[in-house]
Structure formats: structure tokens, C-alpha cells
Amino acid sequence: MLIIDCPYCGPRPELEFAHGGQAHIARPADPSQTTDDEWTEYLYLRVNTKGVYAERWRHARGCGRFFNALRDTTTDQFLATYRSGEKPPVGSAARSAP
């Protein structure tokens, strides 16, 4: 079981959290102005990173907040957790969608 460092509550066991998929995917401001391809990419296309991956978590059975994390998918070690709206910590090897 992972230990996840909620930016609001501190380190807690994985049981308290719900995974929220890839991070830093913004919903288009005006969906009606997107092409079908752009909309499809927003809806469905996700990276499948081997290495450092930016992902969303929700402290569902704690404070209820969504936040972001950088996790190495090869080791399951977290490099950082940070609040929604914040950029990934500088110096991290974070890469989101290409």
C-alpha cells in the first residue's frame, strides 16, 4: 500500500485516496470551438508513461481535496505532491502529455 502525502493533511495510506487519472489535462474553455479531433484528444488520449508521471489523486476519505502528484511508475515512489492549479515542482523530471 502506497503512502501518499496529501498537501493538506500529510502522509496517509493509499486506502484513503482515489486515483484521478493523468494530471494537467484542462477542459477546453469553450468546447464548442474545438474540432472533433481536439475534443477526442481531451476526452480519451492519455500518456502511458514508464517513469515519472503526473497524476491526480483525491483524498476521498480524508479532506476530500484533489491534488497532483509525480510518481515514478517503475518504482511507485512519489517525487512530489502539490496542490491543484500549481505547476509541478521545479527541478522534477515531470512530463505530461507529449
Binding site: A26, W39, Y42
Partner: protein, 999 residues
């Protein structure tokens, strides 16, 4: 006392004689024996039959790596534990054990016919032979193979034992209490760290338990062991766990341990759980898991009596048991010579030591000792075969010439063959933790490399051979794990030392000389050198594929005794080096774990939480039949006078249509949405327009995901300009709440909105039927219930039976209906009051089944039943709810995609069977024409189907491609009894005009 038990020595208590039976025969052993050592002491070597060929098998090892001696231990009918290794079963008085995988008896097993058939049972035999037809595999072949090749039989009664679970935290977890582990725990504890030290065996000590002649720091190893364990035990910050297996290494240094508390006891106290699962979270882990001796793959190496040399030492030194009278020792590493010397000293005749190592080997201390003792050693030797039906009786040796040619040599009579191919570090846990492995050429084995967790290996687990070196390595690892500098103390030792390196896969058999006997690599799965060679010839390259094809290293072995030999043979077949072949994944558990320990208390009533509605006790007292809806218990129907479900549901439905019924709708999800932007939020989220919804009014809302498919639905009421009461489906409450939070927190942070789950705050009683108003009028005096003052979809606040109430004029039955919301604590009271007030109107409590029929008669969908995550609002016939003027809502953009508007999408329709008595099966497929042959072209399926009492016929909802345009067409539902013709109709079967709703 048998001739196989020594006069003295070992850690058994000769004053405590224990009786036990094996396959019905009575034997005795001593306290401290395992079932294996006690059977060996009685001269019993035949312990089982192999999995595939039913070959007779004896003990190979002395520890948990034993692949052959799987037995069933029986306490009573419910306590039959199959597939336990005889080497790990501690003897107690009265123990009953049985062998497995034989019929009718161990010495005469009809299944052994497979052994004679072995030329036609090669690697991949199951895959090749039983492939077609597919259905026969499941129906015919697979059960027969299981029955013929089955391991032990699980008990059929519920497990009567208790299993405990606990969490623990420590700075340093040390796995393995051999010399390195003890030194690590001692060094870590010296820093004041909290230390947990666990070991799978009954006694802490590991290899030291079988080293009576060894000295550590100038005193006997046994004394050092006792003093070290006593010091650790006296330290309150140290937890010592014997009989505890670290079976799984989970992320972030979360290690799963299973502690066995009662299996070794003659009469387990009722208060003790049988096992305890520990979930340890350690800051640092030290893996001092030691090494496992490798067998040698020579022909006939699986006969009972052929065992690991180190195991023979363990039986001698720890249990005081001589494994036989006369031994042939096959030495693939120096340690085998040491075993020969010590067994010889204990009175076992050593016929010969066959040195099968590569020529030119430097004589190690073991070899020197053997020569000094005058034991016969044959160098450049190889083993050509063994003889003996139920026990080895003869070994035929060969001589390897300088050119590699093998000439037959002498044969030696014996009753035991001791082999050692070197030692393989136990890297299972390191590998489970995703740590890398590196091949150590000198050792001929993989050792831990870069870790992925905060873990380090120590001692023989990382290839550090020799007692003093292992102790120093353990101490250094323990100190470093506790954050201290490496211990300065250097251990000294005399006795056990080095010589553990061997060549995996040795001795290679020149192909021309391989006799028809088999050289087994994986004893448990009956995989031979020839199977591995065959797999290579058939084109399997990847070791992962070869593992699956030949089954080598599968089941409980997990490569413990077979792994490296299999790799080495594949490497040699493909002319690669071992590290180039790679490794298969080490999977948890290290040794089998009971389901009981994993389940813990989560069984029966404690398996899952149960949610009960406020009317639960009332309904239960009246004999309601409940169904599970998520975690909720919901009353399904209320039978009276012995009615069956059909009769009860018909009665309940007619009561609602003709009089009045009451229904507990408390399970509906409820979310309060509050804030100055609450209406904007709901506009962006739901497909409907909420801006024009007046206060004290409600509306049926539909929620999509952004992919445009229906996600949830429910009535939403506006309680104030800035306050909405949102209801969701019973199952959707949590996910809708999470979706709202997601958008509020991460997309629409500009909105001033707060949401609160209020599902459990409100009890909801639906009162439905033409007489609903009459019933409520008895209890509600401060709300005008008239149709003019409180029309359909209106909301009012008031009191019912003195309790504050939020009253919705809504209907999920199509009748005049109200939903009474009261604080949950008053739910039972208000439910009873409504029932009492409705008595004179014949009020009828109804359950979820009648609710389903009533809504289907009206064509109201249930999200998740009539929709399946691929239906648009138009598909589900609720597109009328879309707020057409809204610039956006979740899912709107997706509805513009061409495929979402395709006229042949599956659309919700009503279905009427031509024969009104036939109730279709939900989930049944729909086809356009009759008498099709499979594969038929399916154009839809039935989603809801019931008998409608008020209509006197069956009704159904379904989804059909282009369904609405097919209105009036006859389609077919193919069933085993023939095609059932159905007519496509409107999904609204009853009161199409909706007059009753507005009554």
C-alpha cells in the same frame, strides 16, 4: 528409538515422545521434530507422488523450499489443510497427516500410468492436446486433468478458526533470523530503533540451528545464539516473531507477514487466533533471507532418497536423524564434501563422493576434510542414472574424459543420494520490491542490485558466504538501516565456512548419453531437462514463455529450487550466458498464505458494511424480503399470507394504481448545492436549464459525462435562490458527489459553490397513488396539498406528525405522488405514522420490485439498467430535458460528434410480446428476422421486463438500433425454446397522457 535416530544431539527433546499417523500408520517422534524429520527417523522416505507423472517422491529439502513432500494435515472435518510441506509441519501429539495425489495408495498409484506414458506427455502437452474444441477444454479436459493431477483437497466446511490482523510500524524490519539477521537486528536495536525481526521457522537461528560444532567469537554457536536472542527479547523496542513468514513486499516498505500461532499446538486454546497477518510499515528493511541449496539435474534425481546434502546436515544436526544407511554424495560444490564428512562421522556409510564440478577446481576446505577423512572421491565424475522403485538403491556413475566424452563407470549401492549444486541467494523479496538483480559469476547466481525501496540485503541473501563475513555484513546492514555508522565489532568464527558456490545446471549431460530416465529440474511441476530443451527447439526464446509452456517454477516452488537450474539449461541450449536469458518474475507469496489470514475478520456479516433504511426494522418485522442494492438492504416486497413474489408484487402494484402505497426511498443519493453560483454550477453540469427553475419547484435532471453518455439522473429542487437539493440514483451518490467536487476544485474554481452529501440526513417516504393526498392530509396541517397550491413538481416545507418536513410533489409511479423528506432520526416514526394514517385508505407498503414495475409501465428509465454507459440522452429518450439555449454543459460537445447523432444508434423502445403471457428475459438479445442461424445479427437487447398487473400482460423496455423508427414492427427474441415475436411500441405503456400524475 529407530536405527535412523542418533543417540544424542540435535534440538529435539528426547524426553517428550509424540505419537502421530501418516496415511493411517502410527509412528512416534520427539518434540522439536517436523513431520519430515520424524518420518525420516522412522525410515519413511516415500512421501508423495508427483503432479504430472505420479512418480514416487521423497524429501528433497528440510525447509520451506521443499517441492515434493506436500501433505494434508487433518485436525477435524473442517480443519483439513492441504498442500503443506512436511518439512514445515511441527510435530504435535496426535498429529494426523496424509499423502496426496495418489490412488489407491502411495506405494501403488494407478495414476503412475502417466509415467509410462511420459514419452507422449512432453512439455506443453496440455496446451497441444486439449486445445480444440474450446468448450471441451472447460467442460471435459480441464476437470479431468485437475482430478488426475490434483494436489490436496480443500475442506468443504467453513473455516472454523479465527484470523487476526494488525498493523505495525518500525524503523527497521529484519527478515530472517539466521546469523546475518540476528546481527542486523542486534546492531539496529543498539541504536534505540524499533526493530521487528521475523523468521519463518519455529526457532530463531536459521542455519545456526544445525551447526553444533561451529564457534562464534570463541564460544559455541548455540551459546552465541541463545545469548543473542535473549538480549533481543529483553529489549522492549524489539519485536521477535518466530513462525512468521514475510510473504510479500508491497510498495513503500509495506511488508506482509503471516504469523502462525496454533498450527503447532496439540490443543489450540480457543482464545488464540490461528494466524495473524501483520502489515508492517518499516522505514528500512534488511533482507537476511539466506540462500537455498540447488539440486543437480542428473537422470533419476527425483527418486525418494535423493536429497540435498545440506538438508541431510540439517536432519542430522538439528533433529538427530540419519537420512539413510549408505550414501552416494554428488558434489557440485564444496559444501557437499562437508556434509559427507559429518554424516560419515555420525555413522552413515559414504559409498563414494562423485565430484561433478568442472575440472581444475581448487580444493576447498570441505574437499580437503573429506580426503583427510579417507572418504572415496571420484573426480571428473558424472551421474548417468539411478535405480530403485520406491527408494533409490543404486547410482550409476560416469567418467568425463578430457575431451568431454563420458564413459560409464562403477555403480554404487546406496539408500540415499546427497547432492549439492551450490547455493542460490533468496532474492524473492528484494525482487518483489522491484529491486534489480545482478548475476554473480563467481557464485553462479543472481544477487540483489539497485533497490527500488529503502531496503538492503545482508549475508548469504546477497552472496556473502562464510559465517564471520555474514555476521559482519548483517551487523553493518542493521546499523546502516538504523542510521548509524557501521558496527566496528568484527566477528570471528570457526566451522561453517564458504564453499557454497556451484555451477547452476551442472553436470551437463552430453546429449548422446542421456539415458531414457529423466533429469528433473522442477520437481513440483515435473519439468525435466528434456522439456526445457524441447521448448527451446520449438522456438520458445523468452524465459517467461518457457516458464508458461513447461510450467517450470510455477506453483509454490516459484523458482526456489528450480529457477537457476532452468535458466542455466536454457542458457546452455541457446548458447547464451545465464544473465542473457533473464529471469522470470518472483511473485508473492514467498510461501503459500491462507485465505483466512488475508480475509481476517472480513467474513460473513463483517465482510462488508450494511446500510439500513429508517423503515428497516418495521419492514423486517412484517416479513419483508430484502435485496442488496450496493451496500443497502432494501425491502424488495412485502409478502402477506404466504404469497410468492409474483403475487405480492401484483398486489402492491395494483394498490398504488387504485388506492395508495408507501415506499422507502431513503437510499436515493442527496447532495445539497449551495452558493451564489449554485444555479450556474448546475447549468454547467446537468443538461437541463436551471436558471428558469423557480424557488420551491423541482425538475428531473440528467447528468452526462463529458463523453456525452448518461451518467446519472434525479430530481433537483430549488429550495432558495442559492440552494438546491439534488437527488441522485442510489448507486450513483458517491460518484456524482466526486464528479461535482472534481469540477468545483479543478475546473470551475471561479464558482462560489459548496456541496454537502445529505444522503443519510434525510429519510424519504414515497406516498403514491390516487389516495396519497388523503393520507398526507391526516398528518400535514400547515401545507396546502391541493393540486392548485402544490402542483406536480412543486416543493413545500412544513411539518408531518409534528416533524419538520421537506415535501416534494413527485412521482416515480405515474400516480399522484409525494415524497416526504424528514430528518433521518425521525424516519421510522414518520413511516409508522403514515402507515397508521393510511390504514383507512388501505395503504400498502411496497418494495423495490413493485417500484420497478410501476416505473416501467410509465417508461421511466433506471440509469444503469436501461442505460449502460453508451447511451446519449436521445438514445434514452430523455433529450427533451436538454436546455437548448445553454452554450455548454458537461457532455454537450460530445453530442455534436457525428456518431452520436447516427440514426441507427440503439434507442429506448417499448416491447410487447405477441403472447401477453410471456415475460422476456432481461438481457435477452433482439434480432430483426426469425429463424436465423448463429451467428445472428443482434440489433438490440431487453433492458427491463415485467408482468404488469394493471395491464394484465407482460411489458418490456429495450434498446434497438434505430428503434423509434421501427415502431409497430415485429422483431424477435431468440431463446432456447424458439424465437419470441415482439412488437416495437412506445416505452410508455400506461396513462400516456399523464393525467393521473396531475391528479
Amino acid at each position: 528409538m529407530t536405527e535412523f535416530r542418533t543417540e544424542r544431539g540435535g534440538r529435539v527433546d528426547r524426553s517428550r515422545v509424540l505419537r502421530f499417523t501418516f496415511d493411517g500408520r502410527a509412528y512416534t517422534g520427539f518434540a522439536g521434530d517436523t513431520l519430515a524429520s520424524a518420518l525420516l527417523a522412522n525410515g519413511v522416505q516415500l512421501l508423495g507422488r508427483s503432479f504430472k507423472y505420479h512418480r514416487p517422491r521423497g524429501l528433497l529439502a528440510a525447509g520451506s523450499e521443499e517441492p515434493n513432500a506436500l501433505v494434508t494435515v487433518i485436525r477435524d472435518a473442517a480443519r483439513r489443510t492441504p498442500n503443506v510441506r512436511a518439512t514445515t509441519v511441527e510435530l504435535y501429539d496426535g498429529l494426523v497427516a496424509e499423502s496426496q495425489n495418489r490412488w489407491p495408495s502411495l506405494s501403488f498409484d494407478l495414476g503412475a500410468i502417466n509415467n509410462l506414458l511420459s514419452p507422449v506427455l512432453p512439455a506443453g502437452f496440455y496446451n497441444k492436446t486439449f486445445m480444440w474444441p474450446r468448450s471441451a477444454w472447460f467442460a471435459l479436459y480441464e476437470p479431468r486433468i485437475r482430478a488426475a493431477a490434483g494436489l490436496g483437497v480443500a475442506p468443504t466446511l467453513p473455516d472454523p478458526d479465527r484470523y487476526a490482523q494488525r498493523y505495525a510500524h518500525c524503523e527497521v524490519l529484519v527478515v530472517g533470523a539466521g546469523p546475518a539477521g540476528l546481527a542486523a537486528a542486534t546492531a539496529a536495536a543498539a541504536t534505540g530503533a524499533r526493530v521487528i525481526l521475523c523468521d519463518e521457522q519455529a526457532e530463531l537461528g536459521g542455519a545456526l540451528l544445525a551447526e553444533p560444532d561451529t564457534e562464534i567469537d570463541g564460544r559455541p554457536a548455540g551459546d552465541w545464539l541463545a545469548a543473542t536472542v535473549a538480549a533481543l527479547r529483553a529489549n522492549p523496542r524489539v519485536t521477535l516473531l518466530a513462525r512468521t513468514t514475510a510473504f510479500g513486499y508491497f510498495p513503500h516498505n509495506n511488508v506482509g507477514l503471516v504469523e502462525r500461532l496454533t498450527d503447532h499446538l496439540e490443543s489450540p486454546p480457543a482464545a488464540l487466533p490461528r494466524e495473524r497477518l501483520w502489515q508492517v510499515r518499516a522505514r528500512e528493511v534488511v533482507l537476511a533471507t539466506g540462500a537455498i541449496e540447488r539440486p543437480l539435474p542428473f537422470p533419476g534425481n527425483d527418486r525418494p532418497g535423493v536429497m540435498l546434502a545440506g538438508a541431510a546436515r540439517t536432519y542430522l544436526h538439528r533433529f538427530g536423524v540419519r537420512v539413510g544407511r549408505r550414501a552416494v554424495v554428488v558434489a557440485g560444490c564444496d559444501a557437499a564434501f562437508q556434509a559427507a564428512v559429518e554424516l560419515s562421522r555420525a555413522g552413515v556409510a559414504i559409498a563414494v563422493i562423485a565430484d561433478v564440478r568442472a575440472p581444475g577446481q581448487v580444493a576447498g576446505p570441505g574437499e580437503q576434510a573429506a580426503r583427510a577423512a579417507g572418504l572415496a572421491v571420484e573426480t571428473n565424475a558424472t551421474v548417468l542414472g539411478t535405480r530403485g522403485r520406491l527408494r533409490v538403491s543404486q547410482v550409476l556413475l560416469g567418467r568425463v574424459g578430457p575431451d568431454g566424452a563420458v564413459t560409464p563407470g562403477a555403480s554404487h549401492a546406496c539408500d540415499v543420494v546427497l547432492m549439492s549444486g551450490g547455493y542460490t541467494p533468496s532474492v524473492h523479496l528484494h525482487s518483489q520490491s522491484r529491486g534489480k538483480l545482478a548475476y554473480d559469476d563467481a557464485l553462479g547466481a543472481f544477487v540483489p542490485a539497485a533497490p527500488a525501496e529503502r531496503t538492503r540485503s545482508a549475508g548469504m541473501a546477497r552472496g556473502v558466504a562464510g559465517l564471520a563475513a555474514g555476521l559482519d555484513d548483517g551487523a553493518a546492514a542493521g546499523a546502516a538501516a538504523a542510521g548509524a555508522h557501521a558496527a566496528t565489532h568484527r566477528h570471528s568464527s570457526r566451522g561453517l565456512d564458504g564453499g557454497l558456490a556451484g555451477r547452476p545446471g551442472a553436470p551437463p549431460q552430453p546429449a548422446a548419453l542421456v539415458p531414457p530416465a529423466k533429469a528433473f529440474v522442477d520437481f513440483q511441476n515435473d519439468v525435466t531437462t528434456r522439456d526445457l530443451a524441447l521448448a527451446r527447439r520449438e522456438g520458445f526464446e523468452s524465459i517467461e514463455h518457457i516458464k508458461r509452456y513447461t510450467t517450470t517454477g510455477m506453483a509454490t516452488d516459484q523458482g526456489k529450487t528450480s529457477g537457476l537450474n532452468a535458466l542455466a539449461i536454457v542458457a546452455s541450449e541457446s548458447e547464451r550466458r545465464v544473465p542473457e536469458v533473464g529471469l522470470t518474475t518472483f511473485r508473492m507469496p514467498f510461501t503459500p498464505v491462507t485465505f483466512g489470514s488475508l480475509a481476517g475478520v472480513a467474513r460473513g456479516d463483517a465482510f462488508d458494511p450494511v446500510r439500513r433504511t429508517p423503515s428497516h426494522a418495521w419492514a423486517a418485522a412484517r416479513g419483508a424480503v430484502f435485496e442488496d442494492v450496493g451496500l443497502w438492504k432494501r425491502a424488495r416486497y412485502f409478502p402477506v399470507n404466504g404469497e410468492d413474489m409474483h403475487a405480492a408484487v401484483n398486489r402492491e402494484c395494483l394498490a398504488v394504481r387504485r388506492g395508495v402505497g408507501m415506499f422507502d426511498a431513503s437510499t436515493l443519493g442527496k447532495i445539497e448545492v449551495v452558493g451564489k453560483d449554485a444555479a450556474t454550477f448546475l447549468n454547467r453540469l446537468y443538461i437541463n436549464n436551471w436558471s428558469n427553475l423557480g424557488v420551491q419547484r423541482s425538475r428531473y435532471g440528467i447528468l452526462l459525462r463529458d463523453d456525452g453518455f448518461v451518467y446519472d439522473d434525479g430530481v433537483i429542487a430549488r429550495l432558495a435562490e442559492d440552494r438546491f437539493h439534488v437527488t441522485t440514483t442510489t448507486g450513483g451518490a458517491a460518484r456524482v458527489f466526486a464528479m461535482m467536487e472534481d469540477f468545483l476544485q479543478t475546473e470551475w474554481t471561479d464558482l462560489s459553490v459548496w456541496i454537502t452529501s445529505t444522503t443519510e440526513q434525510w429519510a424519504v417516504v414515497a406516498v403514491q397513488g390516487p389516495r396519497a393526498r388523503d393520507v398526507l392530509a391526516r398528518l400535514v396541517t400547515d401545507v396546502d396539498l391541493s393540486a392548485a397550491a402544490l402542483p406536480h413538481m412543486a416543493v413545500a416545507r412544513g411539518r408531518i406528525a409534528g416533524v419538520p418536513m421537506l415535501l416534494f410533489r413527485v412521482s416515480f409511479s405515474g400516480e399522484l405522488g409525494f415524497e416526504v423528506n424528514v430528518p433521518a432520526d425521525y424516519g421510522a416514526e414518520v413511516w409508522a405514522a403514515i402507515h397508521e394514517a393510511g390504514r383507512e385508505f388501505g395503504i400498502t407498503p411496497y418494495g423495490t420490485e413493485a417500484m420497478h414495475v410501476l416505473r416501467a409501465e410509465k417508461g421511466y428509465i433506471i440509469v444503469g439498467q436501461d442505460t449502460d454507459g453508451t447511451m446519449t440522452p436521445d438514445d434514452a429518450a430523455v433529450a427533451w430535458a436538454i436546455g437548448k439555449q445553454k452554450p455548454d454543459f458537461v457532455g454537450k460537445r460530445s453530442l455534436e460528434r457525428p456518431t452520436m447523432k447516427h440514426p441507427q444508434r440503439k434507442q429506448l423502445v417499448g416491447l410487447e410480446t405477441l403472447d401477453p403471457r410471456i415475460v422476456l428475459e432481461e438481457g435477452a438479445q433482439i434480432v430483426a428476422t426469425r429463424d436465423q442461424r448463429p451467428p445472428m445479427k443482434m440489433i438490440g437487447h431487453v433492458t427491463s421486463s415485467y408482468h404488469s398487473a394493471v395491464l394484465g400482460r407482460s411489458i418490456a423496455l429495450g434498446v434497438v438500433a434505430g428503434g423509434r423508427a421501427r415502431s409497430g414492427e415485429t422483431l424477435y427474441v431468440p431463446m432456447p425454446g424458439g424465437d419470441i415475436p415482439v412488437k416495437v411500441v412506445s416505452p410508455v405503456f400506461y396513462d400516456r397522457e399523464g393525467a393521473r400524475l396531475n391528479g
